[in-house]
């Protein structure tokens, strides 16, 4: 089959399946069998519950941090609205969850990420309600967990603050889409090659596309973190994240 013919088949199928082409980098509505939808959703619940308590505690102990929580949520809101072209010739968007995870811990960001995904699923037909659990798990559980622990690890190893922020946000972004690939591969193992073959295929689509975007997300997170560090020293001190000179010049 010629490339053009393959493409024609693909496009025809795409047009049949989605009358209004809703492009989404999360798992599409209806594209995950029910058993997986429920399983991923159930796995996500503990993180959401912990996140609600965590946000509640943060706000109660330090009401002035409310503005930073709003900003962390808003950052995820902005970044997940930006569909950016990538080297694979398709588009995807960053997640923006790294910032909030680094500032407030991973579970707080699970709640904020869920809000973003819910907005996109309800209004934009981006992602979906049935796949909300799976998408929340990848973007709002795995992403923030990865960002938080990588940030901590780099800081513990004596790395500069900006590098810790960059690596945390970038790898959190990348691992979100690796998770998406794993979820799809589990639900759709290939007839020949099984899970591994499917994983390679979905990773090629999602994760490779995501590499340059992950770098962008890392850089943008450093920029916003620096801005917050410059004017919000008190807040960062309250979060025990303050290092003199801001993230860029910290030792």
């Amino acid at each position: 089959m010629s490339k053009r013919f393959q493409l024609a088949i693909g496009l025809a199928l795409m047009l049949i399946l989605i009358p209004v082409s809703a492009s989404a980098m999360h798992i599409m509505e209806g594209f995950l069998p029910p058993v997986w939808c429920i399983s991923w959703g159930a796995l996500t619940i503990p993180f959401i519950v912990m996140g609600l308590f965590s946000i509640n505690k943060t706000v109660r102990e330090n009401p002035r941090l409310k503005i930073l929580i709003a900003m962390a949520g808003a950052f995820a809101f902005v970044l997940s609205a930006l569909k950016i072209p990538s080297v694979t010739g398709s588009c995807s968007h960053p997640t923006g969850v790294g910032l909030g995870a680094i500032l407030f811990g991973p579970s707080a960001m699970s709640v904020l990420g869920l809000i973003v995904l819910l907005f996109q699923a309800l209004l934009l037909a981006h992602g979906g309600l049935t796949t909300l659990g799976a998408n929340t798990f990848s973007m709002a559980v795995v992403g923030p967990l990865a960002a938080y622990f990588i940030f901590r690890l780099v800081k513990k190893a004596g790395g500069p603050q900006w590098l810790a922020v960059f690596l945390g946000a970038a790898l959190g972004d990348l691992l979100t889409y690796v998770t998406t690939s794993v979820q799809l591969a589990l639900a759709f193992p290939a007839e020949i090659g099984g899970f591994g073959a499917s994983l390679a295929k979905f990773t090629g689509i999602f994760a490779v596309t995501q590499i340059p975007l992950a770098i962008s997300e890392g850089i943008l997170t450093v920029l916003i973190f620096n801005a917050i560090a410059a004017y919000g020293k008190d807040e960062l001190k309250a979060l025990k994240l303050f290092s003199p000179g801001g993230a860029n010049h910290a030792k």
């Binding site: 209004v20 799809l184 759709f188 979905f202 620096n226 801001g246």
Partner: protein, 106 residues
């Protein structure tokens, strides 16, 4: 003397910030030139194709409740999402900055 070093420090910070913004823009723009025959559709569309290749019989079992009526409406909603987020971030940074300035005066 102190203010001089402060300006220098701010200057180098500014340069670093501009460099970082340039890299972000380049990362978004360069693929458009590198991948000449790219469609630049969503990665999800590719995933749908892949799912159909693996399991030709799979039918989505649920459809979005509300779908934007057209690409234009969809881009409006995405722009709105980005605008709301950017507005909150701008408000927050402005608030923090104003407070920091007030503290300096005192």
């Amino acid at each position: 003397m102190q203010s001089e070093t402060l300006t220098q420090k701010n200057g180098s910070k500014m340069a670093a910030n501009i460099a970082m913004i340039v890299i972000v823009v380049a990362l978004a723009v360069l693929p458009l030139f590198i991948v000449k025959d790219g469609e630049f559709g969503g990665a999800d569309g590719k995933a749908e194709e892949a799912i159909t290749e693996i399991n030709a019989e799979y039918q989505p079992w649920f459809s979005p409740l509300v779908e934007p009526k057209s690409g234009e409406v969809e881009s409006l909603l995405f722009a709105l999402q980005a605008a709301i987020g950017a507005g909150i971030i701008g408000y927050g940074l402005g608030w923090l900055r104003g407070r920091a300035k007030n503290q300096d005066v005192k």
